[in-house]
């Protein structure tokens, strides 16, 4: 497992480097002067030139990249032009909000999606199976930004039950109240994916001989389903959980904009509107890093749960034990 972890960590280096390179190329090489765009059409040539100097845009792209990478290694993502603060400080302030939103959405989607998937698999082709799978597909097809608006319309505008803007600051209950609508709208797609995937994974396992044996031995249905079948259906589900966690970050960008949730998504979208390129660049790189690290964690947990993956890599040693 150590070797596997090490290998995956080493593979991470070129990926992260390419992430930085892509963001750099997109924001610098494509036609258009970032300084001129940031200052707008009214800016004087002198102002543009001063900003170019301040941002280091007059140096060669390789020298800019080198400086940026050096800074990055020290955790320095440059300074925000709009906020006049280090980008890393702004991110440190905003990321917890996105993390809370993503985690709560993940919990909701797991609590809804997995039991539905398991029950659907055990009752294949029943009414429950058909209805829940259609609902799951509708969930997957849902534009998250539209669902968010509809939830606001129903629960905030019409019923007045829940707040629709901001994160809340008057204690735990207030934060939870503010969290409900954004996390539900973000959770719907993932819940649909989990339900469909868990069902499919469970159906594969239910057909196995050892499940038939467990049933023949007269074990309780609950024990067979949850202890024997579900436990073995879990590794591929964990992979999909990781993938969904990453896509929650995508969804958060849109959800946060609608609910004015003060997280990374809103930060990046606002930075785009304010043409704060340093903040866009830093924010995007940070989100991509988080995305890569989540995927690594998923791969490692998958290897931990599935000895075949480790054996495939370590083949000669652990695989034979």
């Amino acid at each position: 497992m150590f070797k596997y972890t090490l290998k995956r960590l080493v593979q991470l280096i070129p990926t992260l480097f390419i992430v930085v390179l892509i963001v750099f190329i997109i924001t610098r090489v494509i036609p258009g002067d970032p300084a001129a765009v940031m200052l707008g059409p009214q800016a004087s040539v002198e102002d543009v030139e001063n900003l170019r100097e301040k941002l280091g845009l007059n140096e060669s792209i390789w020298s800019q990249l080198g400086d940026y990478l050096k800074g990055l290694l020290k955790g320095d993502l440059g300074d925000s032009y709009y906020y006049n603060e280090p980008v890393s400080d702004i991110i440190a302030e905003r990321f917890p909000a996105t993390f809370v939103l993503s985690i709560s959405s993940m919990i909701i989607s797991l609590l809804v999606g997995i039991p539905i998937g398991v029950i659907s698999a055990t009752k294949q082709y029943s009414k429950f199976d058909y209805i829940t799978m259609i609902l799951a597909l509708i969930g997957i097809s849902m534009p998250v930004f539209w669902l968010a608006l509809m939830l606001v319309l129903i629960f905030s505008v019409n019923l007045g039950w829940l707040p629709s803007v901001g994160m809340g600051s008057e204690g735990f209950v207030d934060i939870i109240k503010h969290l409900i609508l954004p996390s539900i709208s973000l959770a719907v797609i993932s819940a649909g994916v989990f339900a469909r995937f868990t069902r499919s994974s469970m159906l594969d396992i239910i057909k196995e001989d050892y499940i038939k044996t467990a049933n023949a031995k007269g074990l309780k249905q609950k024990v067979v389903v949850w202890k024997h079948a579900f436990k073995n259906a879990l590794p591929p589900i964990i992979t999909i959980v990781g993938i969904q966690f990453s896509s929650l970050l995508s969804g958060a960008i849109l959800t946060e904009t609608i609910f004015s949730w003060p997280g990374m998504g809103k930060l990046i979208v606002d930075a785009i509107e304010k043409r704060d390129y340093s903040l866009v660049q830093g924010g995007v790189i940070f989100v991509a890093f988080v995305y890569v690290i989540i995927n690594l964690a998923v791969d490692l947990s998958y290897a931990l749960l599935n000895p075949k993956v480790r054996a495939g890599f370590e083949g000669t040693s652990e695989g034979r034990k």
Binding site: T15, I18, I22, G32, P143, L254
Partner: protein, 294 residues
Amino acid sequence: MEENVQLNLELMKKEQKANSFIRKLLRNKTAVIGLIIILITIICALFSPLLSTHDPNKVNTVEAFKKPGEDGHILGTDEYGRDLYSRIVYGSRISIIVGVLATSLGAIIGIILGLISGYKGGITDNIIMRLMDGMFAFPFILLAIVMMTVLGSGLQNVVFAIGIANIPSYARIVRGQVLVVKEQDYCQALVALGASKFKIVFNHILPNILSSIIVYATLNIAGAIISEAALSFLGLGIQPPTPSWGNILKSGKDYLITAPHIASFSGLAILMTVLGFNLFGDGVRDALDPKQKQ
């Protein structure tokens, strides 16, 4: 003579295979529902001038915020008094164009990269796949957003941004399939017979992996439609007055209390179309790869 007979047999086999695929697809009720939804959207896109009841861009502030069914406006009007039904009908054009073109762009480049990467292996494979890993490291919409920020809004740029962001998924899928197919006996035999690499890859490997690409592409159109709507919703995609479901939804967001019908109907159009492609995509997958049907 013998060659002709063999050729005929091969053609018959291909025809039978296609017929069996269509039969399986048409037997799948949900896939048929999906197909009907897709056809309705395509008809709306093709015949927008005939199907719309008003000029979608005609501003008439006196008629602003009419409710559905009021004064001959089937779905009501928006903040400028423009007919919402007509705008949604015209909006289908953007969704279909972006869905098809962005998917095709991502698929063509991704397939070529995946074929080269999988067949060549070695350092070429490594370079291409590391680049794909790097692109894959971005949340999809974020990559598209960043590109749109730099490129600027507009249909062409939306297609480009979504298409480029789609490349890594195709490259990965194709590469994985090529690695399996190229080790099969018939590929090895072609190598032994001295067939050119180009011929092996494009004439023999590609047709064998096409079914999984088709399945992915069908589902991917749904993703591209949502992405376009998302970009336009954020104000980065198609700009008003050109109607797109995303920018109609964006204006609906600002009038959620006074005119909830604007956001409701435009979002419903996105949901139904995406659902149509997902239902159809699932059906195509089941018909092409029965092993996955569960």
